[in-house]
């Protein structure tokens, strides 16, 4: 009898009843969870502020501060006085003749910070403050393009290697090994010489160099993606996708790649920092953006030609250095913050 009664109950109760007790429990949405974890760390907030202010400064700055242009010389002129002393000896008495020559120059170069030039001018007479903004544009755009290309290449090749395995995996990974073995800077120097010889416009050569950088940098991302995919494809939901009879592109792009995204975003923000450094290095070595166009690296490069500026005109090169430090630190802080926020295993 009892069994019979149970049986009826069972059939009735098969439906999972959402009890009001469950309604009391409300969860945190995944997005909010990530945001909270990100903002719990003071460093990531600082990093975010650093990055945002650099963006505002570089991209919105020139729209509001229009006194000077990037390649606009201050031609207000400058009077340079030089004093020459000549000593004569007449009848055992020394006379010194001081002669002041006034020289009128066309450009107002190496001007100290003033209301007219917030950070002064450099040795050519360009406004440093304005060039910082334009230099930031170049640095940020170039690094973003490079990181974007690296990610696309890395995801594509790493994804293919990880998903298919076997011979394809072997070929792609050995290619990675070879590229990692290449010495970056010497080859850059060679390429730069070739570019010089072929008269490429100064404005575009930096992009060409960044494409080369992309070419030697994608193996890192590819390895990361491959590793992730190797571990993800062992997950049961991927076996389930296989059992469902989904096509291979669907499995890769709908089920695998979105789950690699968190790690990818972290690695992207970290490599943004290193790309900015690369760009600055290139420009400093005079391989990247060339005068008269501004880049942070080029602006520091001035000191290599003129010792006097290194010692006496800090306003010419220190601001560019500070900008590079802020950018690199900012992106790294954001990257670290994102890594902690997106890793579901890290509790706090």
């Amino acid at each position: 009898m009892d069994e019979l009664k149970n049986k009826e109950e069972v059939v009735e109760e098969v439906k999972d009843t959402e009890v009001p007790l469950d309604k009391n429990v409300r969860l945190m949405s995944p997005t909010r969870m990530v945001v909270r974890r990100f903002f719990r760390s003071k460093l990531s907030i600082l990093g975010l502020i650093m990055c945002i202010s650099l963006f505002v400064f570089s991209f919105l700055g020139p729209l509001f501060y229009t006194e000077w242009g990037e390649i606009e010389l201050d031609e207000s002129g400058k009077t340079e006085y030089s004093i020459s002393e000549t000593t004569y000896e007449v009848n055992g008495v020394e006379y010194t003749l001081r002669q002041t020559t006034e020289k009128s120059l066309k450009d107002n170069f190496l001007a100290p910070p003033s209301s007219e030039h917030i950070l002064g001018t450099d040795n050519e007479g360009y406004d440093i403050f304005v060039r910082l903004m334009y230099g930031g544009r170049i640095s940020l755009i170039v690094s973003f393009i490079a990181v974007f290309l690296i990610t696309i290449l890395g995801v594509l090749l790493g994804g293919i290697a990880g998903f298919f395995g076997g011979v394809i995996d072997n070929v792609i990974m050995r290619l990675c090994d070879i590229l990692i073995c290449l010495p970056g800077i010497p080859i850059l120097l060679i390429i730069s010489t070739i570019l010089d010889a072929s008269n490429i416009d100064a404005k575009y050569r930096i992009y060409l160099l960044m494409i080369y950088l992309t070419f030697i940098s994608w193996p890192g991302t590819a390895r990361l993606v491959r590793g992730q995919i190797l571990s993800l494809r062992e997950q049961e939901y991927m076996v389930a996708a296989e059992a469902m009879g989904y096509s291979t592109p669907r499995k890769i792009f709908k089920h695998l790649v979105p789950n690699v995204m968190p790690q990818l975003i972290v690695s992207m923000s970290l490599s943004l920092g290193s790309m900015i450094l690369y760009e600055a290095t290139l420009s400093y070595l005079n391989l990247g953006v060339k005068a008269p166009y501004a880049a942070w690296g080029t602006m520091i490069n001035i000191i290599s030609t003129n010792q006097d500026i290194l010692q006496n005109h800090l306003n010419v090169w220190v601001p560019a250095g500070v900008c590079i430090v802020i950018a690199v630190l900012g992106f790294n802080f954001v990257g670290d913050g994102l890594r902690d926020a997106l890793d579901p295993k890290a509790r706090r």
Binding site: N6, K7, V10, D16, V19, P20, L21, V25, L27, M28
Partner: protein
């Protein structure tokens, strides 16, 4: 996407929860790390026949989604030389209770909020001292952890350190507990323990690394480690869940055998009623952080009173029964956040009465050893 879903907390609510949590967590952390004299946490047992008395223990987890009352006013006693089984489904707070006793809760989120855990410790000179573990500062916990109370974990695969040999790990236990022990003493003790847990080739196992042993062997080693310090209380947290059935039978056989050999009590935590029935003298049934029924094993299995205990026993598939369909308890195990103040089992209960919408039922004594927390039996008590 968060704005549409009513199942999600809003930003303001989250900030409010975080603010309140931080305040309480800071206080409790400071209390945990305070320096104090031993007299502050010495106490007396209410019944000298017990080895452990938990009274009105509240252990909370201060999560970002609210306070999870994982253990919510739990009281239970463990008599000397007895095995007490704690049974319940996942999330019922059975493991958290044992973690509270060992003070292994992960701070700052997990905290003992209030309550007493009285433990009867035996000092090296043979005198007995009663500590209130809940009040002990964390720096003094070494007085009882490991030597007075030992723990056997669920995962034998990860509970042993992979870079040391079994011998090194076993010897260490002896070195920690006996400051003047020599290497030979330690090895002799370790071998004795390995023999005790029925390992056929103790010499080989002594020199082996954990990865060279099978799951069953490792669990035996874990038991040997727990026994090496001659503890007064062994907490076994799901000791056989990760093992295969035939290996589980071996380990259960061993534990039952050891019960008589050692001078101590066992707190056995499991979700498997079969294991409880075989091993335990007393049974505590937990549901959503509360003890809903406790009594001797005979009382719980022959005369279960709480509808949840009854349902649990009926829904367990057995080899003996002939019915086609299994009995099931509808609904899900609740997540203990923002619990109402009526009976937590009300939504899943098939024997609800009007009273169930009222206050949470208090513990009713139905026999000298049998307690149940259900409105159905209140009348009986009043009449009798």
């Amino acid at each position: 996407m968060a704005k549409k879903n009513s199942n999600y907390l809003s930003g303001r609510e989250i900030r409010k929860i975080a603010k309140e949590n931080n305040k309480v967590m800071k206080q409790l952390e400071a209390y945990k790390h305070r320096k104090c004299d031993e007299s502050e946490y010495l106490t007396t047992m209410s019944n000298p026949g017990n080895i452990l008395e938990i009274e009105n223990l509240n252990t909370y987890f201060f999560t970002e989604q609210g306070v999870v009352k994982a253990v919510n006013g739990v009281s239970l006693d463990i008599p000397k030389n007895a095995t007490v089984g704690i049974v319940g489904e996942s999330g019922c707070g059975k493991s958290v209770t044992s973690m509270s006793v060992m003070r292994l809760l992960q701070g700052p989120t997990g905290q003992i909020y209030s309550g007493e855990i009285r433990f009867n410790a035996k000092e090296s000179d043979g005198t007995e001292k009663v500590y209130d573990i809940a009040k002990m500062p964390i720096r003094d916990i070494h007085k009882i952890r490991g030597n007075q109370i030992a723990m056997i974990f669920q995962e034998p695969m990860t509970s042993l350190n992979p870079v040391f040999t079994i011998g090194q790990q076993l010897d260490e236990v002896t070195f920690i507990n006996k400051k003047d022990a020599t290497k030979e003493d330690a090895k002799a003790k370790s071998m004795e323990m390995l023999n005790l847990v029925g390992i056929a080739a103790p010499e080989r196992v002594y020199a082996a690394f954990p990865h060279e042993l099978s799951g069953g062997m490792r669990q035996r080693v874990m038991i040997a480690m727990a026994l090496a310090a001659d503890p007064r209380l062994i907490i076994a947290d799901e000791p056989t869940t990760a093992l295969d059935v035939t290996i589980q039978a071996q380990i259960l056989d061993l534990l039952r055998d050891l019960k008589d050999k050692i001078d101590g009590s066992i707190m056995l935590i499991t979700h498997d009623l079969g294991i409880i029935a075989e091993m335990a003298d007393y049974v505590v049934v937990m549901y959503a952080g509360k003890v809903i029924e406790k009594g001797t094993a005979k009382e719980i299995f022959h005369n279960p009173m709480h509808p949840y205990t009854i349902g649990l026993q009926k829904s367990k598939p057995t080899l003996k029964s002939d019915s086609d369909m299994l009995f099931n308890i509808p609904g899900n195990v609740p997540n203990p956040v923002n619990m109402p103040n009526y009976c937590y089992f009300k939504e899943r209960c098939d024997r609800c009465i009007d009273k169930c919408s009222g206050d949470y039922p208090c513990m009713i004594q139905v026999s000298p050893t049998h307690f149940v927390s259900c409105h159905l039996y209140e009348e009986d008590q009043n009449n009798g």
